[in-house]
Amino acid sequence: MMNKKKTVLAHLPINKKAIITELHGGGHFNRRMCAVGLRKGQTVETISKQPFMGPLTIQVGKCKMTIGRGMAHKIYVEMI
C-alpha cells in the first residue's frame, strides 16, 4: 500500500520534517549515511534545495549538512 506521506528525501518540501524509513543505496552508501547521522528513525528537515538538481541542505538533530540530490533520492522518508 502506497501512503501519500511516503516519499524520498529529495522530494520532501522545504521546511518540512520527515522520519527516515529506509536507506536504499548499496551497503557502503548505507553505512556511510549512518556514520554521518542519517539513520532509520531519525527526523530530518529540509532547509534549502539548490536549483537545477543541486544539493539539499538538511538538518538532523542539531546538525546541518549538505548532501547531493542523488543521495537524497536513496533516502526514503515518511512525512510528519
Binding site: 553505512r31 556511510r32 549512518c34 556514520a35 554521518v36 547521522g37 539513520r39 532547509i47 534549502s48 534545495k49 539548490q50 536549483p51 537545477f52 538538481m53 543541486g54 544539493p55 541542505t57 538533530g61 542539531k62 546538525c63 546541518k64 549538512m65 549538505t66 548532501i67 547531493g68 540530490r69 542523488g70 543521495m71
Partner: protein
C-alpha cells in the same frame, strides 16, 4: 609506558584546537570540516616525561571515505593512547567512532568539546553517567577558550581500554548508542535564533547567491584596502627612509664591481628596489614591501571567513557549477586557499573523494589560480612608473583583462577536463557548521602563523632566485636564452625573446618573475604584451614549491599529465590572447 597519543574525532569538532592547547604547537584550525588533511605532531610534558601528541584529520568512522580519513584511520595503529574528541552538540553521531575506538585494545579518554555551544543549543549531557556507561574518563571542554583542558591533562593517566565494550556489528553499535543517548542526553527545544536565520539566508539560493557575491567582493576590497595602506603608510616609508640609506652606505663600502652587482644593483650608483635585481634590494624589497602587506591582509580576511563557518555554505551554493567541472562544491575551498599560496590549495584537495576530482582540482589551481605573490606584483606592475606612461587605459583595465582571462580558463579547462578524465565525481556531502563569532586571539594567531610561513618560505627562494638570475646575467646566458627563444616567443605570441627569461624565473618564484620583467629597459614590452605575459606566467608552470607538492599529491604519472595540460593550455591561451589583443 605512554609515548604517543593520537587525537581522533569527527571532522570539525575542534581536534586541532585541543592539540594546540595541549602542545602549545601552532596548527591551523578553522570552522569547517577538512582543515587538517595531514597529521601534525607536537610534544607535551606529563609528569616530567615527554609525550608525542598527534593531531589526525577528522573521520566519521574507521572505514575511510577519502584520503584525509585514510590518514586518520592509519594513525591509530601505533598509538599508545587515544584522545577521542567528541562534538557535544552532535553526540549521537560522534559516538559511532567512539565505540569503534573503544573496541580496539587501546586506552581512550573522551573529550566532550564545544560544551558551551551545546548548552547554548539547549543540550545537556550527564558526563558522569556517560563516563560510567562507557568505562573511560569523560572530560567536558571548550577548547577555544581553554576551559577544561587542565582537567583533561590531569586525567590523561586514567585513560583505559574498557572491558565492557565488546566488538560488535554496525547494527549493534547503533543500538548501544541509542541506549546511551537515552540515558545521558536531554535536548530542550529552542526556537529559531537570529543565528539560524542568518544561516538560512546564506544557504538558500535566492538570497545566498547575492550575499555570496557581496561577501567575495567585500573581502577582496578589504584586502586591497588594507594591503595598499600598509604599503603606502608603513612598508614603503620604512624602506625609503631607513633601509635605503643603509643600503646606499653598504653599496659605497662595497664599491663598484662583482659584489655590488650581486648584492645591490646591476648598474652602479643606481638603486631601484624593484628592478635592480640585487639580493639585498630586489631580493628583500619584493617579498617584504610588495607582497607581505597583501599577505597580511589576505590571510586575515581568509581566516575570518574560515572561522565564521561561511565557506561550507559557499561550497553548497556553487556545487552545481563545480559539478560541471568534474568536482563538487567543496572544490571552491582549495581555490580560496590557493589564492594565497598554491601549496596549501593543493593540500586542501585531499578532502575530495576521488582521483579524478583531485587531478582536476590541482591542475586547475596550477593553471589558473594566481598566488598572492603574483597577484600583488601584477597589480604593482601596471602602476609602475616605467610602464604607466605607455598605458592607453587605466591600469585596472589591464589587470581585469588578466584576471577575467584566468577565470574563463578555469571554467573552460575544467569543463574539458571533466569530459576527458576518466573516473567518478561523487556528490557532495558536507557538514554545515553553526556560525561562530571568531575568537579574536585565535584569529590573530592564525594570521600570524601564515605570515611567518610565507616569510620563511619566500625569503630564501627569493634570495636564491635573484642569485641565479644574477649568475645567468653575468655569464651572458640571459641574452643567449632570449635569442634562442625569440622565434617561439615572437612567432607564437608576438612577444620579445626576453619573455622566456620571465617565464623561466617564474619557476623559482612568481613574484621574482615579475621583478625580472620590470628590470628590462623601458619599452621592451608594450601593455598588451604585459597582459599576455602576466596571464601566461600563471598558467605556464607552477613555481617549484607548488610543483613539488603536486608530484607528491598526484604521483609522477598524473603529474606528467597535469604538466602537459598546463603547457598546452598556456600555449593556446597565449596564442588566443595574441590574436585578440595584438593581432596576427
Amino acid at each position: 609506558m605512554i609515548k604517543k597519543i593520537v587525537l581522533m574525532g569527527n571532522p570539525n569538532v575542534g581536534k586541532s584546537v585541543v592539540f594546540s592547547r595541549l602542545t602549545g604547537a601552532n596548527v591551523i584550525s578553522s570552522n569547517y570540516p577538512g582543515t587538517t588533511v595531514d597529521f601534525s605532531k607536537g610534544n607535551m610534558l606529563l609528569e616530567g616525561k615527554k609525550i608525542e601528541i598527534i593531531d589526525a584529520p577528522g573521520t566519521y568512522s574507521l572505514e575511510p571515505a577519502n584520503k584525509a580519513e585514510e590518514v586518520a584511520s592509519n594513525m591509530i595503529k601505533d598509538a599508545d593512547m587515544i584522545i577521542n574528541v567528541v562534538d557535544s552538540t552532535n553526540m549521537e553521531r560522534n559516538l559511532l567512532l567512539t565505540l569503534e575506538l573503544l573496541e580496539k585494545d587501546i586506552p581512550v579518554i573522551i573529550v566532550l568539546n564545544l560544551w558551551d555551544e551545546a548548552r547554548h543549543l539547549g543540550i545537556s549531557i550527564d558526563e558522569k553517567k556517560l563516563e560510567k556507561m562507557l568505562g573511560v574518563p569523560v572530560v567536558p571542554t571548550v577548547a577555544l577558550t581553554g576551559e577544561g583542558i587542565k582537567e583533561l591533562v590531569s586525567r590523561l593517566k586514567e585513560a583505559k581500554s574498557p572491558k565492557k565494550i565488546k566488538p560488535t556489528s554496525e547494527e549493534g553499535r547503533w543500538i548501544e548508542i541509542g541506549h546511551i543517548i537515552k540515558k545521558v542526553e536531554k535536548v530542550e527545544h529552542r526556537h529559531h535564533t537570529l543565528r539560524d536565520r542568518i544561516s538560512d539566508l546564506t544557504i538558500k539560493p535566492l538570497t545566498g547567491l547575492p550575499i555570496a557575491i557581496g561577501i567575495i567582493f567585500f573581502a577582496f576590497w578589504i584586502v586591497r584596502l588594507i594591503g595598499e595602506n600598509l604599503i603606502n603608510y608603513i612598508f614603503e616609508p620604512l624602506f625609503e627612509n631607513i633601509y635605503r640609506p643603509i643600503i646606499t652606505n653598504v653599496g659605497n663600502l662595497l664599491g663598484e664591481g662583482f659584489f655590488y652587482n650581486f648584492l645591490i644593483s646591476q648598474t652602479y650608483g643606481e638603486i631601484n628596489f624593484v628592478e635592480s635585481l640585487g639580493m639585498l634590494t630586489t631580493g628583500i624589497y619584493v617579498p617584504i614591501a610588495m607582497v607581505l602587506p597583501y599577505i597580511i591582509a589576505f590571510y586575515f580576511m581568509l581566516s575570518l571567513l574560515e572561522d565564521t563557518g561561511y565557506l561550507p555554505r559557499l561550497a553548497t551554493l556553487v556545487d552545481n557549477i563545480f559539478h560541471k567541472l568534474g568536482m563538487h562544491g567543496y572544490g571552491i575551498i582549495p581555490v580560496f586557499l590557493g589564492l594565497g599560496c598554491n601549496v596549501p590549495g593543493m593540500l586542501a584537495t585531499r578532502s575530495l573523494e576521488t582521483r579524478k576530482q583531485r587531478l582536476i582540482a590541482t591542475t586547475l589551481i596550477s593553471i589558473s589560480v594566481p598566488c598572492l605573490a603574483q597577484t600583488s606584483l601584477v597589480f604593482a606592475m601596471f602602476s609602475d612608473d616605467k610602464i604607466k606612461n605607455s598605458l592607453e587605459y587605466p591600469p585596472i583595465i589591464y589587470i581585469l583583462m588578466v584576471f577575467s582571462t584566468l577565470i574563463l580558463v578555469y571554467f573552460i579547462a575544467g569543463f574539458i577536463l571533466n569530459k576527458f578524465i576518466k573516473g567518478q565525481s561523487p556528490e557532495i556531502f558536507l557538514e554545515i557548521p553553526s556560525y561562530r563569532i571568531p575568537h579574536f586571539k585565535t584569529l590573530i594567531k592564525k594570521t600570524w602563523m601564515r605570515i611567518k610561513w610565507f616569510t620563511k618560505d619566500a625569503l630564501p627562494w627569493m634570495f636564491f632566485g635573484v642569485f641565479i638570475i644574477n649568475i645567468l646575467y653575468s655569464i651572458g646566458i640571459i641574452d643567449f636564452l632570449a635569442k634562442i627563444f625569440k622565434p617561439i616567443m615572437t612567432g607564437l605570441f608576438a612577444l620579445p625573446g626576453e619573455t622566456s627569461i620571465v617565464l623561466i624565473s617564474g619557476f623559482l618564484r612568481k613574484d621574482l618573475a615579475v621583478g625580472t620583467l620590470l628590470s628590462f629597459k623601458e619599452g621592451t614590452f608594450d601593455p598588451m604584451q604585459l597582459v599576455i605575459i602576466a596571464t601566461m606566467l600563471t598558467m605556464f608552470f607552477p613555481c617549484i614549491a607548488t610543483f613539488a607538492v603536486m608530484i607528491k599529491e598526484l604521483g609522477l604519472k598524473d603529474m606528467i599529465k597535469a604538466a602537459l595540460i598546463m603547457i598546452s593550455a598556456a600555449t593556446i591561451v597565449g596564442i588566443v590572447l595574441r590574436l585578440v589583443l595584438i593581432g596576427v
